[in-house]
């Protein structure tokens, strides 16, 4: 089970020697409890304590790397079941499949998309992470040939899906040095698959529908020297995946079943329902998601969902304060003040763009708080607004002196007028009404 900081502290030397890099043993204990440092930083622990603390404080899910080079990624090292408990750290890799029975052009099409397609959203480039090769032909040489051909034109992370060690060997002969994920070993093939994983230093997925069987396979592979493992719970339905993946994550983070402390791989293709399965994998703990040829609309939605879910909820998302022109405004355009909470900003921006009215969005720094919270918490004040007018040189940007403030900031309207000398109008409380407000109610 996970340990609390005080329980950890009791086992530390309590000398405050600072050799771990922290000012006190208690500070070190708190870092350990949150899983942010390794117990080995303390040089003065006996073997038994080190082992005990390590087991209780190391990340409950092993970090596993897939692929080599620029686009390689890592999954695992997660600590919680719900993102509101802390955050999720390592977003799942989306691996688009190709089958060795497909015509060459179809394979090339998918490979080109994975290699080249990116979507730009809120300062990030989003793309599918790699390719999953599925062995369908029953012919190991053919499989190897396909992998070799793709290997020559795309250097992206890969999953090799073949339950036959010979087919795996044929594929790995072409790509083994680039650390693909080997998928997947079962009881009969574990030995041979482990030999391949060791030979190439690749991660290996084990596959079984029953958690006890998964644990047995994990034990088998570890005994044969393979530590970088992933778990495929072999779901037949979305419901199976949800139940098994949640149970695996629960037992791992509660540290009741260390043998389940590995990231999960979700092969969505056999289930059909590509959108639902991909979304479920993103939401419920998959580390690698093998997807079918999703269309561009689905891909963009899936990547956006992943970006949302893997956003750190501990940090309010902020936009940079300043003056943002919307719909090419001129000097007579209205100035709309609001806060730098990104949800507020994007919602308002969406409505303003939809309304097509030229205006300036004037964003003041409330440290990412919403209007309501910022007003209540005293973060949004008349001096803040006055200072922002100066730093943005608002007076030189527009030829009027009218400021529209959010409906929820109405209590501050008088104070802002006094402090800034600008005429203040109170806008609607709901961004959805801003278009109509500007059309009917505003004149400088």
């Amino acid at each position: 089970m996970a340990m609390k900081a005080l329980d950890i502290y009791k086992l530390l030397p309590k000398t405050n020697c600072k050799k771990c890099g922290f000012p006190t043993c208690l500070a070190f204990a708190m870092k350990l409890a949150s899983g942010k440092v390794d117990v080995d930083l303390c040089p003065d622990l006996d073997e038994q304590t080190r082992e005990l603390l390590g087991g209780a404080t190391r990340p409950p899910i092993r970090l596993v790397a897939i692929g080599a080079g620029e686009r390689s990624f890592t999954v695992g090292e997660e600590f919680v079941l719900y993102r509101h408990e802390r955050t999720f750290y390592h977003q799942p890799g989306l691996m688009m499949q190709v089958a060795d029975t497909w015509p060459e052009e179809r394979i090339e099409g998918v490979v080109a998309r994975v290699r080249d397609e990116t979507f730009h959203r809120v300062g990030e480039d989003l793309s599918v992470d790699g390719i999953a090769f599925r062995w369908e032909s029953g012919d190991a040489d053919r499989f190897g040939g396909v992998v070799g051909t793709v290997e020559a034109c795309a250097s992206v992370p890969e999953v090799i899906i073949a339950d036959d060690p010979e087919a795996q060997a044929a594929a790995l002969a072409h790509c083994g040095n680039f650390q693909p994920l080997i998928h997947a070993a079962c009881a009969d093939t574990a030995e041979a698959m482990c030999d391949l994983a060791r030979k190439y230093g690749c991660a290996l997925a084990v596959r079984a529908g029953d958690l006890e069987e998964l644990k047995r396979l994990v034990g088998l592979c570890r005994d044969r020297g393979v530590e970088n493992l992933m778990l495929d719970p072999a779901p037949a339905t979305l419901r199976d995946f949800l139940a098994r993946s949640v149970e695996i994550r629960r037992r791992a983070v509660e540290r009741t079943d260390p043998d389940l402390g590995y990231p999960v791989v979700f092969d969505t293709v056999p289930l059909g329902l590509p959108d639902a399965a991909t979304a479920l994998g993103i939401l419920k703990y998959a580390g690698v998601i093998i997807i079918d040829e999703l269309g561009p609309a689905s891909t963009m939605a899936a990547l956006t969902l992943r970006q949302n879910i893997y956003t750190d909820p501990q940090k309010p998302i902020q936009v940079t304060p300043g003056l943002y022109p919307v719909n090419a405004p001129t000097g007579s355009a209205p100035v709309l003040m609001t806060v730098n909470f990104s949800l507020t900003y994007f919602t308002l921006l969406g409505y303003l763009e939809a309304a097509g009215i030229p205006c300036y969005l004037f964003i003041v720094d409330t440290e990412g708080m919403s209007v309501l919270t910022a007003v209540a918490g005293g973060k949004l004040t008349e001096t803040l607004v006055a200072d922002a007018i100066k730093t943005t040189e608002l007076e030189n940007r527009v030829d009027h002196r009218v400021l529209i403030i959010p409906g929820y900031a109405a209590p501050l309207s008088g104070k802002i007028e006094e402090e800034t000398g600008w005429e203040v109008r109170v806008g609607p409380g709901d961004a959805a009404e801003i278009g109509e407000y500007l059309e009917t109610g505003w004149e400088a």
Binding site: R83, T237, R239, L280, L283, S298, I309, G350, S370
Partner: protein, 325 residues
């Protein structure tokens, strides 16, 4: 916070009944119970699984602000609210219609008589339970909710939307005419709880409240909504009775975002459907019992997904829609 992982045995989300049959004083051929679960979504079986979630298709009485993509898809139906509502059930396969009185959002709206007429028209055209959304302007709330509530008397509709600073008109109408209420708060678990307590003081019974924690659109703050739904379900199962209510989720801005609005006309439907689907599906996983969408194509996609999530947990009929009384 690992204690949150394991619900206290016996805690359940309150059940809310929607719709009334002839025997109950209404005219619905189907009625639904939502809520009832004692586990996180789709993990329970038997009684602990609660009732299956429902998919609502949103329509409106004034299409000027409605997404052009949806208007193109539904064609002439948009001009005939009753026919649009009927198609939502029969052609598009929704579990229920959510009728939004967008006409009341116009400045200086005063055609109150039209509200009652439209409600009656939609009731006449449909057979399943209804959700009806009134005004957002406190000055006309009282009249709007009275007219809507009265016209739907006996049908046990879900009436929206109560907010912290304007809930009395909605609650009064629900009490007078026997409806349930949507209680919306802006993505905050404490505010959600407070509003439920305020509504309780109006004498509205708790089993007539559905929580709307507000759903931001995919890519635009959706993660806050997802997590607040997970938290509400989590503390409800820990025993917080004020939050143990079913939730409704509607990412109403989905079709207004840049990604959808600026999509190539040839792929606009695909993009609109996916943008709605990913948010609505995720809301189901986070604990929403009613999800609302506007593009008819999203309904079918959600239906398939819901089937796969419910497989084996509910008797066939109930899972797929019918729960006739």
């Amino acid at each position: 916070m690992s204690e949150e992982h394991n619900p206290e045995p016996g805690n359940r989300i309150l059940e809310v009944r929607l719709g009334a049959t002839k025997a109950e004083g209404g005219t619905r051929e189907r009625v639904y119970t939502v809520g009832g679960a004692g586990t996180f979504p789709f993990l329970g079986a038997g009684p602990a699984a609660g009732h299956p979630p429902r998919i609502a298709l949103e329509i409106c009485d004034d299409t000027r602000t409605w997404s052009p993509i949806v208007l193109r898809e539904v064609g002439d139906l948009a001009e005939d609210t009753g026919a649009w509502a009927a198609a939502a059930e029969t052609t598009f396969g929704a579990d229920m219609v959510r009728l939004s009185f967008t006409s009341t959002r116009q400045r200086g709206f005063d055609d109150f008589a039209s509200l009652g007429t439209t409600v009656e028209e939609v009731i006449g055209a449909t057979k399943y339970p209804l959700i009806v959304e009134g005004s957002t302007e406190p000055a006309i709330d009282s009249e709007v909710y009275r007219r809507i509530g009265e016209a739907a008397e006996g049908e046990r509709v879900l009436l929206g939307t109560a907010e912290a600073d304007r809930y009395r008109s909605v609650a009064a109408s629900a009490l007078a005419y026997g409806h349930a209420v949507v209680a919306q708060t802006p993505i905050d678990i404490n505010l959600a709880k407070q509003l439920n307590i305020l509504l309780h003081e109006t004498a509205l019974p708790p089993e007539r409240i559905v929580i709307d924690p507000y759903t931001g659109t995919l890519g635009y703050g959706f993660e806050y909504s997802y997590s607040v739904m997970e938290r509400i379900r989590s503390v409800a199962l820990q025993g917080d009775a004020d939050l143990a209510r079913p939730m409704i989720s509607s990412a109403i801005d989905s079709l207004n975002v840049k990604e959808v609005r600026e999509a190539d006309p040839e792929t606009a439907d695909e993009v609109a459907i996916r943008w709605e689907f990913y948010a609505a599906f995720s809301a189901l996983i986070a604990g929403a019992e009613i999800v609302c969408v506007r593009h008819p194509g999203t309904v079918a996609l959600l239906r398939e997904a819901l089937r796969a999530l419910l497989e084996g947990s509910h008797p066939q009929e109930e899972a797929y829609g019918d729960e006739s009384a």
